[in-house]
């Protein structure tokens, strides 16, 4: 947490470079770090993915199991997204109950998938008001190097796309697994989360950990396949101008289009 001289020098360097439109790692302002997506990494899970976004690395597993619907939502399956920063991912993370940062991370990833209506939850009902399919999407950050929002979101989306849904039949009002029959999850759209940081007057896409340490504010915007804006979260201890917020939405759409092509290859 303490700020060393080196930290301070790095911050100065980052802001100096940005004045010339350059980033410390040589990227363009609207350029993400290299992204690799690997699916099927946890064969015991119903779906899984390992995502590297620069040096940030996330593993997401999807578990599908029958469950009771939420009260008043008896015509919908259950969707739950969690996220965790494993203590081996970051020297500053300690084991224990989730911090507010981790709770925000999980909830923003969850809303990105939920609000875009990526999965048609109405198709996951086994017996209305009694029995539905639950989809649990659990992300574990194993190396933390900035922009956990997008890394967890991409891993979650890729893990869902790689999932198979077991078939259940209802007997005596209880779900029974039908062995050997599975289907793809009912996908309606592909959400792409794009996180940007404001450092001084500049907006940079996909901030590294070093950039996050000197950013003024942060914004995560999730868009869908139809080019709409579906979820947004501002973070950080300063604000954005209205012009910046509009610029950010445009960047989220254009960067999102590229990432979405990567997802389409997984389908």
């Amino acid at each position: 947490m303490g700020s060393t001289i080196l930290d301070q020098l790095r911050r100065d360097k980052i802001t100096d470079l940005l004045k010339q439109g350059k980033r410390l790692d040589g990227r363009a302002l609207d350029e993400q770090r290299p992204l690799t997506i690997e699916t099927g990494v946890i064969p015991k899970a119903n779906g899984s993915a390992r995502v590297k976004l620069g040096n940030t690395e996330v593993i997401t597993g999807v578990k599908v199991q029958p469950d009771k619907p939420f009260p008043d939502l008896g015509d919908k399956g259950i969707l739950i997204c969690t996220a965790e920063i494993l203590p081996l991912a970051d020297p500053n993370v300690e084991p224990g109950p989730p911090t507010e940062d981790v709770i925000e991370l999980a909830r923003v990833v969850d809303r990105g998938i939920r609000e875009t209506e990526m999965i048609d939850l109405h198709q996951l009902v086994l017996l209305e008001n009694k029995s539905v399919v639950g989809i649990f999407i659990d992300s574990s950050v194993i190396d933390s190097a900035g922009n956990l929002f997008d890394a967890c979101s991409y891993a979650s989306v890729a893990a869902v796309l790689s999932s198979t849904i077991p078939k259940y039949e209802i007997k005596d009002e209880a779900p029974v697994l039908v062995e050997g029959v599975t289907s793809k999850p009912p996908i309606k759209t592909l959400p792409v989360s794009v996180t940007m940081a404001r450092i001084g007057d500049n907006i940079v896409v996909d901030p590294s950990r070093e950039e996050e340490e000197c950013m003024d504010a942060r914004i995560t915007i999730t868009t869908n396949s139809e080019g709409n804006i579906c979820a947004l979260q501002k973070g950080g201890n300063d604000g954005f101008s209205v012009d910046q917020l509009i610029k950010c939405s445009e960047m989220a759409l254009s960067v999102g289009t590229k990432i979405r092509k990567r997802f389409e290859q997984l389908m």
Binding site: E100, D101, I103, E104, A106, R107, R111, E115, T116, E117, I219, I221, N224, G227, N228, I229, C230, A231, L232, Q233, K234, G235, G236, N237, D238, G239, F240, S241, V242, L245, I246, S249, E250, L253
Partner: protein, 234 residues
């Protein structure tokens, strides 16, 4: 909504719900405010700058801001468990980050400013109303501020962009976008979005929300002026 844009509670699309703010309603808090924003009824109390406990959380270089958004068990239709939910913890964090730009924490090293918000009755837009009350409570506590913080949501209901979504609209609604600004400085310090907007609607929605924030700002100012200058108190 009717064809000429009259909403379920009788408002026009660009109309705020009724808002009233009372300043200095609590005796023990260093600053406080009570807001009624539609059916929202929210108390905010501020303590500080004061010593930090536990001490290892203190920062030698700057003051820190803590914020707690909490809902009373009776504030919602179904009784709420009093333990803070993950939703409340997240809202506490975004409120803190929305207020912090307005404060000059560097001037108060090793101290903490605590903002406690209690939602006694919740309606749509409770985080915005909470923020409006918290900003006034900070001012009431005499804490130096760069600007107030004024918050209001806009959203999409029945395919139209409307200001200040209420609870019924939120449940049927297509999008909800809470926004907070520092009105004089013009920065947006809180922004979230749940729901689906075209890029064009996004811009309209943002501008609509900011318009609402500016109206809220006048009400906040008036409440402070009334307490500190009209009645002659200080």
């Amino acid at each position: 909504m009717t064809e000429d844009g009259i909403r379920c509670d009788g408002r026009r699309v660009d109309q705020l719900r009724n808002i009233s703010i009372k300043v200095g309603v609590l005796k023990n808090a260093d600053g406080s405010a009570y807001i009624e924003f539609g059916k929202n009824k929210i108390l905010a109390g501020v303590f500080g700058p004061r010593d930090v406990h536990p001490k290892h959380m203190a920062n030698q270089d700057t003051g820190i801001l803590r914020c707690r958004y909490h809902m009373s068990p009776f504030s919602v239709t179904e009784r709420k468990n009093p333990a803070p939910s993950r939703r409340e913890i997240e809202i506490s964090k975004v409120l803190k980050e929305a207020l912090e730009p307005a404060l000059i924490l560097k001037d108060f090293p090793r101290t903490v400013i605590d903002v406690f918000v209690e939602v006694l009755q919740a309606d749509g837009g409770s985080r915005c109303a909470a923020l409006d009350a918290a900003a006034v409570a900070l001012a009431d506590a005499g804490i130096p501020m760069r600007d107030l913080v004024s918050a209001c949501a806009a959203g999409k209901v029945a395919d139209r962009i409307v200001l200040d979504v209420n609870n019924e609209e939120d449940q049927e609604g297509q999008a909800d976008m809470p926004v907070a600004i520092m009105p004089s400085i013009g920065k947006v310090t809180l922004m979230q979005l749940d729901g689906i907007l075209t890029p064009e609607e996004y811009k309209t929605c943002l501008q609509t929300a900011i318009g609402g924030c500016r109206t809220v700002y006048e009400i906040q100012r008036k409440a402070l002026v009334e307490k500190y200058f009209e009645s002659g108190a200080q």
